[in-house]
Structures are given as structure tokens and as C-alpha cells.
Symmetry: C2
Subunit: 871 residues, 2 copies
Amino acid sequence: MVDSLTTQTAISDNVYLLEEAYGLGKDVLGGKGHGLVEMTHAGLPVPPGVIISTRVCAEYYENGKKFPEELMPTVMSKLSVVEEKTGKKFGKSLLVSVRSGAPLSMPGMMDTILNLGLNDEVVQFLESSTNNERFAYDAYRRFIQMYGKIVERIDSKKFEGLIDKKKAAKGVESDVELNALDMKDLVNEFKQLFKEETGKEFPSDPKEQLRRAVEAVLQSWNGKRAVEYRRFYKIDDSMGTAVGIITMVFGNTGDNSGSGVGFTRNPSTGEKKLFAEFLINAQGEDVVSGARTPYSIEEIEERMPDLYAQLSRIGGLLERHYKDMQDFEFTVENGKLWMLQTRTGKRTAQAAVKIALDFVSDRMITEEEAIMRVEPAQLDQVLHKHIDPEAHIDVLVRGIAASPGAAVGKAVFDTNKAAELGKLGESVILVRRETAPEDIHGMIASQGVLTQRGGKTCHAAVVARGMGKPAVVGAESLVILENRAQAGDVMISEGDILTIDGATGDVILGAAPLVDAQISADLDRFLTLADRFRKTGVWANADTPQMVAKAIEFKAEGFGLVRTERMFNAKIRLPYVQRMIISSSTEERKKWLEKLKEFQKRDFYDIFLAAKGRPVVIRLLDLPQHEFLHAPASPELGDLIAKKLPSLKEDNPMLGHRGIRLGMTYPEIYEMQAQAIAEAKVAVEAKGIEVQAEIMLPLTSEAKELSRLRELIKRILPDSPVGTMIETPRAAVTAGEIAKYSDFFSFGTNDLTQMTFGMSRDDAEGKFLVKYVEEKILPNNPFEVVDKQGVGRLMKIATEDGRLQNPKLEVGVCGETGGDPESIEFFINEVGVNYTSCSPYRVPIARLASAQALIKRKATDGESKKYAASV
Amino acid sequence: MVDSLTTQTAISDNVYLLEEAYGLGKDVLGGKGHGLVEMTHAGLPVPPGVIISTRVCAEYYENGKKFPEELMPTVMSKLSVVEEKTGKKFGKSLLVSVRSGAPLSMPGMMDTILNLGLNDEVVQFLESSTNNERFAYDAYRRFIQMYGKIVERIDSKKFEGLIDKKKAAKGVESDVELNALDMKDLVNEFKQLFKEETGKEFPSDPKEQLRRAVEAVLQSWNGKRAVEYRRFYKIDDSMGTAVGIITMVFGNTGDNSGSGVGFTRNPSTGEKKLFAEFLINAQGEDVVSGARTPYSIEEIEERMPDLYAQLSRIGGLLERHYKDMQDFEFTVENGKLWMLQTRTGKRTAQAAVKIALDFVSDRMITEEEAIMRVEPAQLDQVLHKHIDPEAHIDVLVRGIAASPGAAVGKAVFDTNKAAELGKLGESVILVRRETAPEDIHGMIASQGVLTQRGGKTCHAAVVARGMGKPAVVGAESLVILENRAQAGDVMISEGDILTIDGATGDVILGAAPLVDAQISADLDRFLTLADRFRKTGVWANADTPQMVAKAIEFKAEGFGLVRTERMFNAKIRLPYVQRMIISSSTEERKKWLEKLKEFQKRDFYDIFLAAKGRPVVIRLLDLPQHEFLHAPASPELGDLIAKKLPSLKEDNPMLGHRGIRLGMTYPEIYEMQAQAIAEAKVAVEAKGIEVQAEIMLPLTSEAKELSRLRELIKRILPDSPVGTMIETPRAAVTAGEIAKYSDFFSFGTNDLTQMTFGMSRDDAEGKFLVKYVEEKILPNNPFEVVDKQGVGRLMKIATEDGRLQNPKLEVGVCGETGGDPESIEFFINEVGVNYTSCSPYRVPIARLASAQALIKRKATDGESKKYAASV
């Protein structure tokens, strides 16, 4: 976070020429500004310019949006140096861009004004000096449009309407077909529109233009889109944006000019090869918006070998400087290459893994650095579903594969509608001609994105990749109309089901069968590397032999939670379960339990076989009884259940007669389960396969519960470790006593969170919890990311007290947060667990997160001892 | 607790003559034995005897009920000294009683055998030496009966049946009318019965009798009745009983003999005057069982002035020795007085208070000791209801006022039935001819007890007083038959409603109107004395001006919990509340809130007036919304509610959208309440009456909730302290942060207990919780007595962390445990609260408990510093 200007740091200390600012960080210069400063320092061709530091923005908001008096004089004085360097004069020939630049990348989220400095005089100078009248007036009309939109909030469509009218009048289809005169007309019409909308003339004084533009950029930091983006990515609101005022270079002066974006290597696959797109006679925004389809890197190499060679050389320089893959923007003005921006490039998980491994091979980074290069959550992408390769599918259209993974959902053409339906839990594919920052909330709420236009670096592609959502872009044969789309003679209406595959670019009408991903050889190598850096176990929660097998494929080392409730719910067993529950005597109950035992024995047998000797922690029944009586298995049972139901009904079943309390009142149930485990164990061991069964009791709140039932289980399974879930706050604060009767603890963070907050997940998530997270009352949904202050503190107390009483105590986590990277780091570094256990598909994520946690701790331990105290 | 004989302490060190044991405690000698030893030492007439220490009993159970080989030889050797002293020979003329004697009084709970040593020879010696054949055979048949019952578990009714048969055959009504021959017959019939039941002869060897009797007494420690009694009174099971073997003296040798019980002062009123009852020609058991009505103290004084004088002198000696009111048993054998037992006498709360004050006046005890003399929970008695003096009642019969307070309930004649119905929550009056230890579970479950027979010291009276339950005994004009009772020509059947008044002895058919008690002048003096020894506030929970006034009558110093939900529930307000809840916009909601504000303003106005300047902590709405929609206030509302209901339904309302969460989503509700408070405050202050309103927010789990709503409230009520309930575990563990925005904490132990255990009170109490307490999984119902290990630890964490951040933080308790003496002691001495708040009727109890807590801490602090660590 940036220190604010509480003591009125002089403005003059916060405005820099690019060449003056080397050594300052992104927190001060913003990401873009920092890149320009670094590139300037490295001797790359960067247009001269001025950066206003983020501190000015922070102060602007702290002072209630008061624009600092001294800012513009300081900026103008710096700008005079730029005038010298360029030989151009602001207000005469020097045009600038005014851009935002946040410390963390927020692509397209804030406002930028190009061509600033133009007026009726300057445009003539521009025309004469470039000898390109059309270019000059095109620049001028673009400037008026952007300025009007950003500074005066004039709806951009109104300007577009005038262009469309002009094109219609001329009978042409594309902007390029409009000539200089048309542009001149448009300038006048735009100025007229500006006056109608604002009640004042378009400002002709470039200094006034600049002042207003700088303020608009500052204001864009708190624009709706920017705030939404920061919320989604959990970026601190107080950082503020820097403002860059950079000499304009033009990619649209003719066919010897153009603009492009590039990646130093392939951001989708990680392939070690320059990746760029270039649009002739265009400004950068034309490339990013995807309105025209640019030259691919192959086309650049073939048609513009010089440019390709320059970009390759610069790419290499950038990678060596930054020691990471870079994403850059460039413009060619009348044949001269200018670098406009560089930053660490966003990439798919697959690319992130390959790049990290390649950088290690090239000895550019250490193994630890490589492990830290991949966001664990991003791995979810690689483990995304794809279309079943065995399935017969009819590809409707094929677009550009922009963000991997396949998604199925209802086609929705309106962003707001998509956002609405998505919030209601509907699976939606957002289908747009192209996306813009305004579409961000719709993209967040969708399963995937499909666009008609754009390339791999267009807005939709970049944002979708960042979010880990499947995206297909540039599906040009899809014609998108208002609320429907046409693909050949097929019409897609709102609500029609589509499948998209962001790895192939395929678009299919209807729901294609999806299958789960396998781990690639690169990812396997990468995770095996990560395994070497972790010391805590990664176990899986699995209730079936299939889940056990899947988890082993992902290299789970044990099974931290094998629930037995689901087994009870199978249709064939339900009559017995129901009869057992409504039994009116222990004898009767035992009779039905005897039947259930045979089922359970088979379950455990299959799971032990699948687990191949790995530890299997079986949680005995946590059965909210009435839940099993909803649907009587026969009319006769219906009558019996109806009689029993009133006495079983609970006002708050979450806090009712469940878990170990059931074992206390009906010990015969746990006795049956222990017997089934014992018999299954013998049967599997008879096949020469080791069985490590551990018995876990749910919902303990008092040590005596455990001491009593531990004895019962130990009678049947003398060699099996017996432990307990820690999922009531009381278990946590009396853990010292409980540890006397436990071989292990396993934190059930779902229930523990519910009880610690006094908040039922089901009742909270649909209601106030969303608001709590949105309004930052809570930093996260505590059911997804562990609540460190509350639940986490209880976990620390429990672990510390438990180990004090029982130094051999094993401690694990098997709640949903056991698969969340941020939570895993806390569990390992703050709670000190021995293992975490999560759903099979999150095992790779947990392996990486566990390694990163240890690497972070080592780094911090080396640096200072503060870390432990800071949480 | 007694050290057990783990290292095989010699038996010889654990058997004492009465005169050898002076200086040993009740823990070793049992209460009875201790009394006999003390009286022997004081030179009072005590029959010689031997005491087997409690350690022998403890060892007996530790060794799996193995009777120690060396015990009987040791006993016999001591008994030879008794033979010397009495000039009698065991097996020839010496008869003994074998009695249990626990360290804590458990009246009638364990077994006693009298007249032990009798056989066909000894009875003849007894006959010839007393020259009373009837007496001798009566003693013999009693012995066979008791021995048969206690040692061989022969049903007593079988013996009684033989007596009834004999009386019927003779055409007589009372046992006294049976002559010596009849008794001889009965001895033979009893021996025959004994043989039929056991398959063996009645043992004629007195040594064998003694050995079996001692073992039976040891076994009675774990008899059903004894275990139940200990559970009710929370007495440690491991203490064990002593066994007394004491020379028999006979109150039934003729009209110059008799037995009696006495209290050194009146146990009902505390009046400083000897209180005794005496039954001529009877053994002690006849007095205690209440089978015949004894002479009152007035009758003794009039008819037996010598006995009266002796008892008076001895009573004085006992009080000076024990510095407390004593309860004693005595027998007159042929004109000679023998003291058989003394112990601290049970008394009503009223008596306890008066006796404590009188002892202070007489400078026999200090003020602190006086305060410690009254059990706070016992005060509940004094505050028991009585029959409205204004009401017209028809007294059906009048009995002896045996235990104060009035009760209304269904007449039930069977103990087991009463226990059953009582557990189901029915109000029951247990109606019995007389009660016996077998009836204890029925008494526990009843509202009150009514007996046909017995005096103020009969079993029913003593036990009911101990339990603080209303009792009327000796209602002789009530004839109790099987399952019904006749009073004149009125027949009372099972289920008929009765009212009893244990302070007057009145029995009324039907439900008489009951009113609450006032505080007596004695109690007022006593509590005022106690107030001087406490430092923590005693506040009350009150929702109405009436409750506020009642609490002030009991000297509540503030109001720790004024709930606003109940106000909302009034019929006239319900339509507005319902419309408010189903409002679909903030504007609409505000409209209905505006109406509700007027009601609330009036509520607060009345409460502020009644509180007369005392602090009033108003808890803002904790409204489970759907609870208010059960009964639509109109058909139109019914339709509207039906539509809204599905979206309000919660699976676990306890963990749902309630408390401060409601304030977060609908701040306008709390805003309205704050406005109503502000306006009411102004109006009351305008009358010259001070208002100390404090605002309390419910169910906080995160500091930011509080910081936001505190701001809202402070805008409207800038001078009012704003604080929070601590009732979620998360609030407790994040209390440091929460304290930054709180002027006070108030522990809501009900919700805190529910969430800490993960146990809903409603769902638990009817189901597993009873079993948990019965089986000692938990020491108490944690909703009644605070759970120190779990909930208590959270309270300590919260208080410590809270005060660290905010040294001015006031901490209180307003949950139900705030009125429980054991909990209050913990809150004051372990948590360090500033005040406790409870229902108005428990304010006197809380005042006393708070004083006692401080006195105990001082005593412990003086003694050692261990106390704090021991919990």
C-alpha cells in the first residue's frame, strides 16, 4: 500500500520524466509507467513522457476529490523537457496520451485519452507535418469522442451514430473508407454534439484539455468497472492510479504504420516463441478491442521480417531484464517502432507451468522461484473439463481458442441478463460481438465467453484467461444480432444451450458431454518439483472407490475424510436405514444394523482395495436422522415414519441430535460400523494389500464423548488410530482434554465456521453473506477461505493445546477450505497442520499451495521473524 | 474427597471406638459418626459404639466389592470394649444398630439395620432383662424384617402383609394392639418367610449377622436411591460411607420410653427456640416415617418438663459447639435420655436467614460467616409464590405446613407416574400416605408434596424443604386410597387439580390464584449485609415497566437486558410488523417502521420512567423474521405473507438472518429504534428524571458490523454507550477488535452455549442432554450452569482481550446463567465481570451469590493462590 500524502509532500516530488524515475516501484509509477521507465532505462525506443505518481491519486481521494493546485504547473514544467526532446510544442504539434496506470494490472478497467492537444490549429499543423489530412482529422475526431466520453460522460454511441450515419450517407461499410473530408465533417459534427450534450464549446486550449483529462483519469480509479474488477480480484482500493502523459505516436498514419501487442512467448501454451499480433494503419485500441482481425505472428514474420527481428530482439531483452514472460504493446509510426508498454504477461496455467519449467532449465530462475510463479488456484484451469474426445459432436462454428476449458450453458446476448441469470445459479455462455470493460460483470457470472470478433489478445480473451474461464473469440462466421446469432442457416436464440471449447475453439449447439482433464507431462514434472519443497501431506476427501482412484492419479497421499452418510443414502439401503432409525428398541435397531453392516463392509472393502495401503480416515456416521426419512421407501414405512417423525423433528438440525451424539445414544450404530471396517480390513489384507484404517468421530464437543466411544471402537479395532473432527468451538477450546483420547484431530472447517460465526451456510450464502463480502465486512466468504481471525484462532488454540497434552497428535484439515490455497498457507504456516485433505480435483492445487507455503515461510523466516505475529 | 486405600492402609487404623476418634473429620467418620464422636467428647449421653471409616468403603469399591478379610476381627475386638462399657455381651445381651453415615447428609438414602444381635436365645435374655416380652419379640420381628429387606432384598411389603393379616385376624387396627404372643407368632412367620425367600435359615449367629449387615451398608452406598440422591444434590460418588455399629437403646420398651427428633431452633421460621417431636413407646424410625403423629415441642414441655429441660440444655451445648443450628435424634430408654445423632440442621431459606442474623447478633459467627450460611439457590424458596391473599379460596383440608411455597398441579398418587409426568413437563402434586426414600424420584419431578401422615420432621417434610419444594404433611382428614383420596365427601381422583400451600398447610381443590412473594424484613437485612461484601453489580433482565419495578423492589441496580422483540409481538402491532417484514423496498419498510416507532417510543418512555435513572441496556431487535409471520394479522396479509414466506424460510433459524445481521441489511430498523429511544429519553428527561440508556447490539460476529452500526446509532444518540452481546464464539475470539467499537460487552450465555457446543437448546434438552447429564458426560445442563471449560474459557479470552484493547470496557452477563449462583461465582472470580443481570426474581439470589463469590475469593487468596489455576 502507498503512503498517503498526509503531510503534504510537495507535488513536485511526485511528477517525473520517464528518465528520472528509474528505481521507483510500481506502487508509485503504476504498472504501465514502471514498464516505460524500465524500458527507457534499458535504451529501448520509448516515446518521451511524464508520470504523475499514485500518491497524487491517493491524496486526491483523501482530500475529497480536490484537484491539487500545484499539479498542473509542475506537469507543464516537466512537459517542456518532453517538448525539447521531441522538438515539438504542446499546443502546436505535440500530442500526448493521458493514461491511467494502477500498481496491479487492471486491463482496460480505467480510462485513457489519446491524441490530447488537438484543436483546430494544431490539427492543421499535424496535417501539414504528416502530409496526411485524413489521418489528422481522424485523430482529431477520435480525440473529441474520447474526451467527450471520458471527461464529460457523453454516451459513445452518440458519436458512433454520427459515424454510422456518415457511412450510410456515403454507402460504405468500413471507417477506412471514409476520406479526409468525411473526417473533417465528423469533427464538426462531434463538436456540435459535444456542445449539445454539455452546453459548452469543446475546449480548444490544450492545457485545459490536459487538466481535465488528468482529473478524469484520477476519477476513473473509482469508476464502477474499476471497483468491480478490484472486488473480483481482491485488489486494495486505497492504492490509487498513476497518470502517464506520454508523447503520442501514431499507428494510423498510413500503411507504413500500425499497432500491435505481443507476448515474449505463447501465453496459452507457454511455447518459447515470440507471440504478437499487428494491425496495419491502426492505433493500439483497434487491436485490443478486436474490431479488426490482426496479422498473426506468422504473418508478421513473413511480411515484415524487419519488424519481426526487432520485436524478437526486444522480447529477449525484456525477458532477460524481467526474468519472466512479458506482454508488450508497440506502435510503428511511419516505419519507426515505438514500445508503449510492457508488463508481466498473463498466461494460462498450462503456459505458466511450462514457462516456469523452461526458465529453470535456462537457469534464469531458481526452482523455488519457478514454484512461486504459478498461482495454485490457476491450476483449476488445467483441470477444467473438456469435451469428451469419444463423443460425436457437430461443430457449429470454430473460433479462436482463447482460454482453455469447455463450458456448457444457455446463450445470453445481454451482459446484464447474463449477470442476473448467473447470480441465480444458471449456467450461462455470454455471447457478444466483442467484449469491453463494461461487460466484466457479465463475464464474471458466466461459465464461458464467446465472441464474434477479436484475436487471442482481445479483451475477451485476456480477461477470460485471467479468470480461468473458457473463451472462444473471433468466431467470425457467427453473426451476432440483437438477442440472437446466426451461424449459416442455424439461428441461436437466447436460452439455447451452447457448448464451447476454449482449447479448440469449437462451438457446438446443445450440451456436449464433458470429461475431466488429465494431468499433462509438464504439470506432472512441475508438481513433482513442488512436492520436493513441501513437508505437509496432501490427502483427499473421497467417499467412493472411484474418487479414491482419481485422487491417487493426482498423487493424494492418504484419505482424510471418507464419509459414511452417502453410503447410507443408496436406494437399496434406504428401507433398512429407515427401519433402523424408527426402531423402538435396541434389539430391533441391531437387527436392521446387521443388514446394513453387509453393505458397509462391501463399501469399505472396495475403498481399502482402491486406497492401496494409504491411510484411510473413515468418519463414522454423522446422520441427521430426519433427513433420511423424507422419502419413505414403501407405503408401509410411510405410515411408520409418519408416526415417528414428530419426535425426530428438529428446529435447528445443524445443532441437533447428530454426529457423536448419535453414537452416544445408539452406540450400536458405531459398533456396527467398526465391525464392518474390521471385517473389510481382514478381507483386503487377506489379498496381501495393506490397510491403514483410521476411525474418526464427528461433532465431538466434550472429551468424555470421545473417551467412551474410543473404548468401544478400540475393542473392535485395537490397532486402528481413533481421532476426532474438531468442528465445534467447544472441541477447539477443550482440545487439551480431548487430545488425551485422540490419535489425531481433523478440522472440519465447514461446521466449525458455521458454529463460530453462528451462521448456517445454507441460510447465509443466499442472503446476507454476499453483501458482507461485497461491502468488505468480511474479506472473503469464510466457507471458501478460512476465517483466520476467528476460526483460525480456534484452530491454533486447539492444535497448541492438543499437542501439549499429546505430543504425538496428528493434525489435519478436511473441510472445504482444505483445498483453498490461501487457507492451506494459513493451516501450514500458522496452525501447523500435518496434512490437508481436499476433493480429488483440488489435490494438485493443494500440492502446489503446500510447497509455496513452506517456501514463503522460509523466505520470511530468513527476512524477519515478524510473519507469525502479523496474522 | 477421601484418599483411597491404594497402599493397603491397615484396617486396624480405620476402625474406631467413638471415644478414640475425636479430631477426625466427617470425610472419615461420616456425618453421623462425626456427630456421635463429638457428642461423646462433649460428655453428652451417647450409646457406646464403633465406627468403620469411609476409607474402608472406598477401598471396598476399588477392589471390586471385595470384603476385607481383616475387617470383622478388628470390629469384634473394638466391640469387646463396648461390651465392657455397657456390661453386655454381643451374642447374649448386647444389641447394636448398623448404620450408614456419608460425609454429606443424605437423609434416609441408605440402609440401616436395628436390633442386630438378636436370635432365639438373645431374645429371651432381652425379655427377661427388660421384663417385657412384647418389646423383646417386637424388636426381634423388626430385626428380621429389616435384615431380610436390606441384606437379602426381600420385599418389605411381604412382611407388612403378615402383620396386616395378623391384625385382621385379631380384629385390631394398630400395631400397638398386637400382644407379645402375636409378636412371637410374627417372629416365626417372618423366619418362615425369610426361608421361603432365600432358601436358607435366618442366621442365628450374631457375628454372621454383623458381617452381612456391614457389607449391606457398604453396598447401600451404590443403591439406586442413594445414587439418585447424589445426582440431584451433585455429591461426589467416590466419597463412600462410614459404618456405625452402635449400642441399641430402645424407645419402645414401654410408656417410660420413646424416641424423638429435634432442632436447636425452629427449622421453618428460624425462631430461637428448641423444636422437637417425641413419640412415646417408639423407635426413631417411627418418628421419621411419620406413621404416627408425635408430641409437639409444646406438648413435651407441658407433659415432660424434665426431658424438655435436658433437651434444652443439650441443644444449647450443641449450638455453642457447632456454632450452627443442629438437628438431633434422641431416645429415652426407661427414662434415660440417649443422644443418637446430631448434624447441622436443614432449614428453610427464611430460617437460614434468620438464624444467620441471630448468630451474628449473638456474636457466635462473623458477618462473612453469616453470609456464607445461606445457600443462594435456597432463597428461591422465599421468593416462591403463595396463594393470593385477596382470593376467595375454599380449603378442602388443612395439614401441617412443612415446606413453604404454594404449588398447583395434577394430583398423582403413584411415585413412578409422578416422575413420568413431571419429566414430560406436567405440573404434578405427589399425594402419598407418607413418603419414603423410594419416593425420591417422584418428589424431584413434582411441584409439591402432600401426605396424609407425618409431622414437620417426617421424611416428606425434610426432603421437600431440602429441595425447596412446597409440602403439606399430616393432612390426616385426607384418606388416601389406591389412586384416589377422600376428604369428607369429596373424592380426589388422579389428574384432579390441587393447590397446596406449604406455608399454611392449606389444601385446595382446583387451581387457586398464586401471587409472588415479597421480601421479608429479615431477608432485606440479610441481603443488605451481603451487599456490603460484594463489588459487582446485580442487574436485572426486564422487558416491561412491571418487571423493571419488580426488579427495583429486589434492589436491582440496573437493567442489563431490555429485549425489544417482545414489544413487537403485541397484537396491535403485529400487522405493522408483518407489513414491515414483507416490504419490498426500503421506502415501504420505512413507512411501516414509522408507525412502529410510536409504539416503541411509548415502551421506552414507560421503562425509563420505571427505571428511575438506573442504567437501561436496550438490546436492539434480534428478530427471526419468519417467527413473526406465523399468524397473519388479516386475510389480506395472509396472501402477502404466503408469497414472501419461501424466501424467508431458514433451515436453521438459530444460525440465520437475525440479530445484527438484520441491522446490517436493514439499517432503517435500528435507526427507527434509536430514534424512538432518543425521543423517549427527551420526554422522560423533561419530567426531571434521569435516563441512562445504553444500546446493545445482538449476535455480533465481526468487529466491522459493530463499527458500522455504532456509527449509525451514535449519530442519533451521541451520549449513549453502545456495546454488544458476546454470543457467538467468533465474537469471543475476536473480542480485542470488537472492543475498539464497544463501550461494554454483555455475554449472552444462552446463544454462546448453543454455538460453542453446536447444540440447540430446544433440540437437545428434550433428547440427548438429559442422558448426558445423567451419565456425567457433562457435569450440568450447560444452559443452567455455565460450562466453565468451554464457554467459560471463551468468556475469559473475550474479557481479557477486550480489556486489553479498551481498558474502560464494562463486562456483564445477561444470559440465563446470570442468575445461577455457581455460574455467578465463576463470572466474578474467573471471568472478572463488572455485573451480572438476571430475571427480577433471581436478583436476591444474585446479590447473595455475588457477595459469597467475593468472600470465597478472599478466603482462598488468603489461603493459597491455587484457586485461579484449579478451574
